[in-house]
């Protein structure tokens, strides 16, 4: 203390004033910079959302939602249906696996287990891989090696790998937030581990898991790079009838474009700017709505824990 206060003692009053004045200057500059950055960020968000809405909404028309795609109407309806189907399939695959894996990590594995570390490391790796690399892998594995061709199933499985780490992590966090007293209480009543997991631990963790699942839906809906070379760019409606006759599995192996891919193709063809603008609005509203829903679910989790 003495050493640090010594120089101040030797300084003249004028020097101390000058120093504090420079500190005030520095503070003012820092404050300005911070506000500037915030204003800039806010301006970008407003510009982005505003531009998409203002240019897109006037271009929305019923033609764009016609059931069948034709060159004249450039309807996004088949793409919307495809997006829905791909989302459902990807979730059917990824949610049970992701939730199961998280249950293993949190409830079954011993702390410091080697396997747990490896699972965490690989999940982190998966979440860092860019979507184009998933697309390449999906193309090589599902399209070429398994011979599925451009198929909805190939795209959905590729996406399910992509969202797996997201679901794993959010479920893990949700399970960890369930107090240990719940587990102790359940075991104390003589309940088995499995029953404890399903009837005591999962219900309070549900909003957290749900919020992760909804975030994953948002990612799937906005995804394009991973789908172009796996699910392809087919613009027809899903159909159970192929040239070989009727098959329940036919749509799974059909080339399908999702809404995001549809928008990319509209843009790269360069002829359909108005339709692309309208598609951008639908895409933006969908994704933002889905993400808002996820935030809502997460808030519900926080509230539930407060009361519990």
């Amino acid at each position: 203390m003495k050493r640090s206060s010594a120089p101040t003692g030797r300084r003249t009053a004028a020097e101390i004033m000058a120093h504090s004045r420079s500190q005030i200057w520095l503070s003012a500059v820092l404050k300005l910079l911070v506000w500037l950055a915030a204003v800039l960020t806010a301006a970008v968000i407003i510009l982005l959302v505003g531009y998409i809405l203002i240019t897109g909404i006037p271009n929305l028309s019923w033609d764009l939602f016609a059931w069948k795609f034709t060159t004249e109407n450039q309807s996004m309806m088949p793409a919307l249906v495809n997006t829905l189907c791909i989302t459902v399939i990807a979730l059917l695959l990824a949610v049970p696996i992701g939730v199961g894996a998280a249950i293993y990590l949190v409830e079954y594995a011993k702390r410091g287990n080697r396997l747990v570390k490896l699972v965490r490391l690989t999940a982190e790796t998966l979440s860092g891989i860019p979507s184009i690399v998933y697309g390449l892998f999906g193309m090589m594995f599902f399209k070429v090696a398994l011979g599925w061709g451009y198929s909805m199933l190939g795209g959905a499985v590729t996406l399910s790998i992509m969202i797996l780490p997201l679901i794993l992590r959010t479920t893990e966090e949700a399970l960890l937030s369930v107090p240990d007293s719940y587990r102790e209480g359940s075991f104390g009543l003589g309940t088995g581990k499995l029953r404890t997991v399903f009837s005591v631990i999962l219900p309070p963790a549900m909003p957290g898991i749900l919020s992760g699942v909804i975030l994953a839906i948002g990612r799937i809906v906005g995804e394009s790079a991973a789908l172009i070379f796996t699910a392809g760019s087919g613009k027809d409606n899903l159909s159970f009838v192929t040239k070989d006759g009727f098959s329940v599995f036919a749509p799974l192996f059909q080339s399908t474009r999702t809404l995001a891919v549809h928008m990319y193709l509209l843009m790269s063809e360069g002829l359909y700017t108005a339709q692309a603008q309208a598609t951008a609005v639908v895409l933006l509203v969908l994704v933002v709505g889905i993400n808002a829903l996820s935030g809502f679910a997460a808030k519900k989790l926080a509230k539930g824990n407060d009361h519990g």
Binding site: V34, W35, T41, A225, N291
Partner: protein
């Protein structure tokens, strides 16, 4: 019966946990197994050379590697200062009522699909740069601006919680020593949150280098070596998407090998991220 069910389910959960390991192994095997032999087939000198002319069997991806690095660096120059300052604003300066609007807005930004960002870049940023510079408007500058915007939510989303996690006593201690609010935040709180902020930046690097659909729209995609700030360039990611559709044979293999080089970059970035996070945990 219950005992059996317990054991079976234990292994089912174990199996589920192993899926992510299997996925990483499978991805590595397929990418590396396809890409590395291709690199040798093309010849390393050719593959890492400067000329990409598939029609003449020249598959040099060096310009694209440099392109990816330039674009990522540009995005960092734009995004990192703004991102960190904005995170500081949200954590330490923001009035409560403004926070309730700004925070969801930043999270909204994170959810916007990259194709929509690309569209925005093409329709808004490209014409602006075009008018100001007199060039085509597509190139390094535009790509850096757009990617800088795209990594903002990544950086803010990681840095802000890190700043909030700094114990309040640090800040109060600095105030008590006579530092102003700004000085306390910048010379005490920010350094204390260093590793969290740094991991946000690394995540941003990963997002920028892996970005595909937005870059295609606005980078120009020329195959030559990247030149100045206004020149067009092509990244590894856009090279894959642009040519995969019509490529065959060795050309297609070369594109997959491009993906492998990208994958190696991503693994390096991931390793940096784990190192930083590991240090934070200690």
């Amino acid at each position: 019966m219950t005992k059996l069910k317990e054991t079976v389910m234990h292994y089912v959960f174990l199996l589920a946990a192993c899926v992510s390991i299997a996925a990483v192994v499978l991805i590595c095997v397929y990418l590396l197994g396809n890409g590395i032999p291709t690199m040798f087939e093309i010849g390393l000198g050719n593959f890492f050379g400067k000329v990409w002319k598939p029609s003449q069997d020249l598959y040099g991806i060096f310009p694209f590697i440099i392109g990816s690095i330039y674009v990522t660096a540009g995005a960092m120059v734009v995004g990192v200062p703004v991102g960190i300052l904005c995170a500081v604003f949200l954590a330490c300066f923001c009035p409560h009522r403004l926070y309730r609007v700004l925070n969801p807005a930043v999270r909204l930004m994170a959810g916007v699909p990259s194709i929509v960002y690309g569209f925005f870049g093409l329709m808004v940023l490209v014409p602006v740069v075009q008018r100001l510079s007199g060039t085509s408007g597509k190139g390094l500058l535009t790509a850096s601006l757009l990617l800088g915007i795209m990594i903002l939510p990544t950086i803010i989303g990681t840095a802000e919680p890190a700043l909030r996690a700094v114990p309040r006593s640090y800040y109060e201690g600095a105030l008590a020593l006579g530092a102003t609010h700004e000085r306390s935040v910048f010379s005490v709180v920010l350094p204390a949150a260093k590793s969290g902020v740094l991991s946000g930046v690394i995540l941003g690097v990963g997002r920028a280098i892996g970005e595909t659909m937005a870059v295609i729209m606005i980078a120009g995609n020329q195959t030559k070596m990247p030149g100045g700030l206004l020149d067009g360039l092509r990244t590894m990611t856009s090279n894959i998407v642009l040519e995969m559709g019509y490529s065959t044979g060795i050309h297609r293999q070369a594109l997959i090998a491009t993906g492998v080089v990208l994958f190696v970059f991503i693994l390096l970035i991931n390793t940096c991220f784990s190192l930083v996070k590991g240090r934070e945990a200690k």
